[in-house]
């Protein structure tokens, strides 16, 4: 069987991608359209809702329905679409600044409402599009253009927040693990209720440059070494967990979604 390329969902005229060399967004976009193809999603029954930021530009390359919204509010727009037309596949693409920093309130309540949306949050640990400022997920002590003495604040864990707020499906992947990422996106779309796929993704242009990972390769190596499958991660001693993060399916449950309860 030929592998899915997802090409039929891509607006080839708009290629090449606008993202920086070494950015993870292209890999995530590839996983997304391959997931669409493998699930057989129809373009006219699929709406991709995007926020503002580097990853929020992804809709420029897609041939499905799309709604490119305002900064932080994509989930709220998507909620209106899904609540009125429950039959549509609604996929929401946001970055960490967009999805869980300025958009934190909507993130919390979309998960609480358990509305059948799939959020793909590409976490590159900084505001890439505006030049590398600190975001809500920038790790403590790390450097950005607005934390030049190290981040005095602590980072938010989007997966833990979504799980606590009531999401039916929570998974974390990385841009290094493309195949696994595609499988997670498929599970997330298939799952009823609110689904989050957080994608740890390289930004060598900004985040990597300020945090001793100047090259795309260094950032990918970081993802490869520090992303630990959940089961392995749970068996690590506390000191070994330092700098690592669990990946894989973190939550999967079947609480009734918003449309089922309405």
């Amino acid at each position: 069987m030929a592998h899915a390329t997802g090409i039929k969902y891509l607006k080839e005229k708009s290629l090449p991608l606008m993202w920086c060399p070494g950015c993870g967004n292209g890999i995530v976009l590839g996983a997304l359209v391959r997931a669409f193809e493998e699930l057989g999603l129809k373009k006219h029954e699929t709406v991709v809702v995007t926020g503002i930021g580097c990853w929020g530009k992804a809709d420029d390359y897609l041939l499905t329905n799309a709604l490119h919204t305002t900064h932080g509010r994509a989930l709220a727009f998507a909620t209106g679409i899904k609540a009125y037309q429950p039959g549509l596949n609604v996929v929401v693409l946001m970055g960490d600044g967009d999805g869980v920093t300025i958009g934190g309130n909507h993130f919390l309540h979309a998960a609480r409402r358990n509305i059948d949306l799939t959020a793909v949050v590409v976490n590159n640990y900084n505001y890439g599009m505006t030049g590398g400022q600190v975001s809500g997920t920038t790790p403590a002590e790390h450097y950005t253009t607005t934390t030049v003495y190290g981040n005095p604040e602590r980072e938010l864990d989007p997966c833990a927040v979504a799980a606590a707020a009531g999401a039916n499906y929570v998974a974390r992947g990385t841009a290094y693990h493309g195949w696994e990422l595609k499988e997670m996106i498929k599970e997330a779309i298939t799952k009823k209720g609110f689904s989050l796929v957080e994608v740890a993704s390289p930004c060598p242009t900004h985040y990597g440059r300020y945090n001793e990972m100047k090259t795309a390769l260094a950032m990918l190596r970081w993802l490869k070494e520090k992303a630990v499958p959940l089961k392995t991660y749970e068996q690590l001693e506390e000191p070994e967990k330092e700098g690592c993060f669990p990946v894989g399916r973190l939550v999967s449950r079947d609480a009734p979604d918003f449309n089922a309860r309405y």
Binding site: V47, N65, L67, T70, R73, G80, I81, Y84, N105
Partner: protein
Amino acid sequence: MPQQPRLLQGNQAIVEGALYAGARFYAGYPITPSSEIAEECARLLPRVGGVYLQMEDEIASIAAVIGASLAGAKAFTATSGPGFSLMQENLGLAVMGEVPCVIINVQRSGPSTGLATKPAQADVMQLRWGRHGDQCLIALSPASVKECFYLTVTAFNFAEKYRVPVVIGADEIVAHMRENFTVPAPGEVEVIERKKPTGPPENYLPFAPEEDGIAPLAAYGSPYIFHLTSSMHGPDGYSNNDPANAAWRVAQLHRKIERYRDEIVLTQSFEAEEAEVLIITFGATTRAARAAAKQARARGIKAGVLQLVTLWPFPDKEVAALGERANTVIVPEMNYAGQVAGEVQRVLGPAKDLRRVNKYNGEVLTPAEILQAMA
């Protein structure tokens, strides 16, 4: 079954008007003095197969309304001044994306939390200029329970016909006032549906106006796949940075409203044609103005009232036609700066004898206060 008269609150009449117009989606966040609209929607929308959503804030409310509208719903929300401020960014998207939707702003006394249960008419400029960037929309202002109903139907009609957000700038007085009203039978009042695309789906251009100046709008889920973006876009809805396209697009957003200006601008005159003293008014203050004019006429003063039903686009032509004929123009309004008076002065010129009557203590303007200005 013939329609029965009911004692309805303005806020209820707004919901009746929305349902009559075919609204099937409401998303909102509670705020005095608009909350009865949310409560009525929560009660009535599920009965007609519609959706009521209480969102986490007003930002999300207008976002959900825009999303639902693009999924094919006639959709609306209601709020008051502070919530309307929170909606402004996404309302900009609705203008840019030409998304039909209706927003009710039941004005209360501010600034900030102010006198949260008291009336005001101080959002006139917020209605028009609250957003960022080059944009315009339509704003209407009801003066009675009956007008709350009819103007809500009109608001949906304008929104659907011109692909533009329409705001109803109501006030606490009309919203909470109760009057006898009979909801008209279905079919009695015109209800307009948005223009849908025809022809091959692959040729659909969601931002290419047809001869009437308006582009057809598909719904997500139909065979007509479409892109809509808050960014500057070409006829296909994809981002487009070309300066010529940007200039054309910004102008188009204004021109479609200018073109239909005469249909959109609604006014009512009460013995205004021969008036030597013309009271120009809007919203609940219209009631005091009409009483004042009546009392003035009883004293032999030729007084009349021009009610601005449409606030934006501003009724320049109508104000000029009647205002130029009158010796004196009085503009009573429940705000300090004279937000409408300033517009009237712009239209009639600095030489005009224009008298402002401003009240901003949370109390209603009385006929006596308007009469005083005639002295």
